[in-house]
Symmetry: C2
Subunit: 431 residues, 2 copies
């Protein structure tokens, strides 16, 4: 790589409460390495690279960079769902052209499995074109589905711990709500994110590891016919007069009117109806074994944006995995993802390491079948032992000003454009 | 009234983040008055009175009573939606009978307009039967619809400030989400509670009093045809590439499959579909003036249960209005509601006073038409000046234990039953 070259960081996919902590870890970390020049943030992920929209992150005030810790989701430099498909040769060439024009020797991609694949392919094309580019992946997803099911490539992804903590509180409060209002609303259905992967709905159990609440958890991995679900809810109503039902947004309950994104993933937030709604309507139609009606909550993006419930453990880890990625980049270790591995022993601690991008890109993490309790409406204590340390112990102290949270406000300082305008291939096709 | 008689407090209707603060104010306040004996909490509101389920609140530990401050919604003693209709003569007689059996001389009813009416009628029947009962109302509702539109009976109801603060944060985070994800999700629709009353959706403006966000607020009070709403959203998409849309759950967008509660109110949390869903589907069907899809969030009961976003001002006021109610009770001032009135002048401060229950019961508060901005998709600065002080300045510090919030856990200490079993009239009818 050139003696001193610049770094581009880009984000991809759905945001998390801690994605900006990884970004901050990268900005702070880069200051320690003389071989890294300016840190640029691609505006809206790879789309910003293609459009040559590069925010100068090295020129931002120290205060705003520090505030990234408490600024959730991806509003600061933006994310995208633009997929660099292997056929989009012009896009790949454009990325190389932009990197060359801005003397970029380091490319850090914050994202999930798809992004690790993209980072890997960008590096391949760069090397084929003679550009000395170090490509490093930075893991991120609330779904916790990056890596392998044996937890050897990565123990958990930054973002998951905070959403798990959100669900701990949501279920604690929902239980108070349901306990207080059950004469009128005996059933409260809560829909959790996570697509078809059960880590987020499973986190509801962290609110009640002693199993004192009338709580049922339905993961997409263990389909349950609506009639059986209703029977189980009514059994609980006969026992305790009320029931909390947590459902995965990807639970198979018939047609929800799916809308797919460009990755082919279902965008559950845009579906014509929701699993919670279908479950609530079904319960009210077949009738409850108690007076009153079922009602539902679909928190949507708030569960990944609600900063007061973010986990301090998750925030710290996201920051450090960003620093680790910079360290790998500075060491010229192209083709790796920075990772978090759990140390053995009873005291929770982690170490930061690297795994090859290709291994991550070709792996698929599912929710371990052994962590679903017999009966299919709960998770096991093994899951609780896995997830409990990730939510940390205490609440954050959010910076406030004039009654609102003081969020980071990056200045719109962009690298001068050096190339002709470019319309990303996939956008052209739709025009 | 008898020289020393007992007090029953009951809750009615939807819970709030601060309802337990009023309860705590009553428990603490009662200790100052020798004429008040034991404080009982009716389990699930008036249903608990009818069923003679009276929790001994005077016997609870000081620590658990203190924790009521940070314990949202109504799980501690419960609430209900059981309506004491004037025709239910047996129910009224039973209330008097239970009060007589437990030497109850004070009845404090925490609720909205309906509850003030009920409290008033219970007092009337008691007096007609020769029972010396002091009935006092304690205002509560997140909707802020208790009292009059001139704000002379009450400035605002406890509960509203906390939900307004929740919306301040929700919109701040939603704006970051939308700013970050707009290439894929350019429109984010957020549905707010408040039935047909606009105070809660209006609070979205507190997140952005300078009007820098691409934020549109649609109140039920100013109906907007879906086609016009879509045009306005698309105009914003052409301007800034993204749009945040806050809609009232009671906005008229056609049939949502209403489910009504016993008060005849629509239970929007049980509707077959939601306003947000209808708006999202409509926008995606007519097409957006930007790539990507609209998505929606319906936070549901979490907005009234999410303790981290509760307002310290609201919590303090809820506590004091509970204390005020006890003071009125101890003074024998039956037939009043304790109230909060704003003092004139630029510095926000309130005083605690009383207003006759009948005046509150017969009043109706609407959202002032003058606070809806011309164009019908925003609220005015006058509204912001009214609501801003209610959300306070800082975040709470929630008590945590083992990664979870330490919520109040009242002991199940009940008054001994002295009367035969009784099935409430409305429950009999359904049997």
């Amino acid at each position: 790589m050139p003696r001193c070259s610049n770094l581009v960081v880009a984000q991809s996919g759905g945001p998390t409460p801690v994605i900006n902590s990884s970004l901050r870890g990268i900005i702070d970390g880069a200051r320690d390495f003389g071989q890294i020049g300016t840190v640029y943030g691609a505006r809206h992920g790879i789309e910003g690279v293609l459009k040559e929209e590069l925010i100068d992150l090295s020129a931002q005030s120290a205060e705003e960079v520090a505030l990234l810790r408490y600024t959730p989701v991806a509003g600061s430099i933006g994310t995208c769902r633009y997929k660099l498909k292997s056929g989009q040769k012009q896009d790949f060439e454009r990325v190389i052209e932009v990197f060359r024009a801005h003397r970029v020797g380091y490319f850090l991609y914050i994202g999930g499995n798809d992004s690790m694949d993209t980072a890997h392919r960008v590096a391949e094309v760069a090397h084929a074109r003679g550009l000395d580019l170090v490509a490093i992946g930075v893991p991120k997803t609330i779904d916790n589905d990056v890596g392998d099911s044996a937890f050897k490539l990565i123990d958990h992804t930054p973002g998951y711990g905070s959403v798990a903590k959100y669900w701990t509180h949501e279920v604690q409060y929902a239980n108070e709500e349901n306990k207080g209002s059950c004469p009128a609303d005996p059933v409260l259905v809560l829909q959790a994110m996570g697509r078809k992967i059960g880590y987020i709905p499973a986190a509801a159990r962290l609110a009640d590891p002693e199993r004192r609440m009338p709580l049922q958890i339905y993961l997409a991995e263990r389909p349950c016919p609506l009639a059986q679900l209703a029977d189980q809810v009514n059994d609980e109503l006969r026992r305790s007069g009320r029931c909390l039902v947590v459902v995965s947004e990807g639970l198979d309950v018939g047609d929800v009117g799916q809308v797919k994104d460009v990755f082919g993933h279902t965008s559950f937030g845009s579906s014509q109806t929701t699993v919670a709604q279908i479950v609530v309507n079904y319960l009210n139609q077949v009738g409850l074994a108690a007076k009153g009606a079922a009602r539902g909550n679909v928190s949507g993006t708030f569960q990944r944006g609600s900063m007061a419930y973010a986990s301090s453990v998750d925030l710290d880890e996201a920051y450090k995995v960003g620093q680790k990625a910079v360290e790998l980049a500075a060491g010229g270790e192209s083709g790796y993802m920075a990772t978090i591995l759990r140390m053995p022993g009873p005291i929770y601690s982690v170490r930061y390491d690297k795994v090859p991008l290709v291994e991550v890109a070709n792996s698929e993490r599912t929710f371990p079948a052994g962590w679903i309790a017999p009966g299919g409406m709960d998770v096991t204590d093994d899951f609780v032992r896995y997830a409990r340390p990730l939510i940390g112990e205490d609440m954050l102290s959010l910076p406030m000003r004039d009654g609102r949270q003081r969020l980071a406000q990056l200045a719109a300082i962009y690298a001068d454009k050096k190339l002709p305008e470019y319309v990303p291939e996939a956008d052209r096709k739709r025009g």
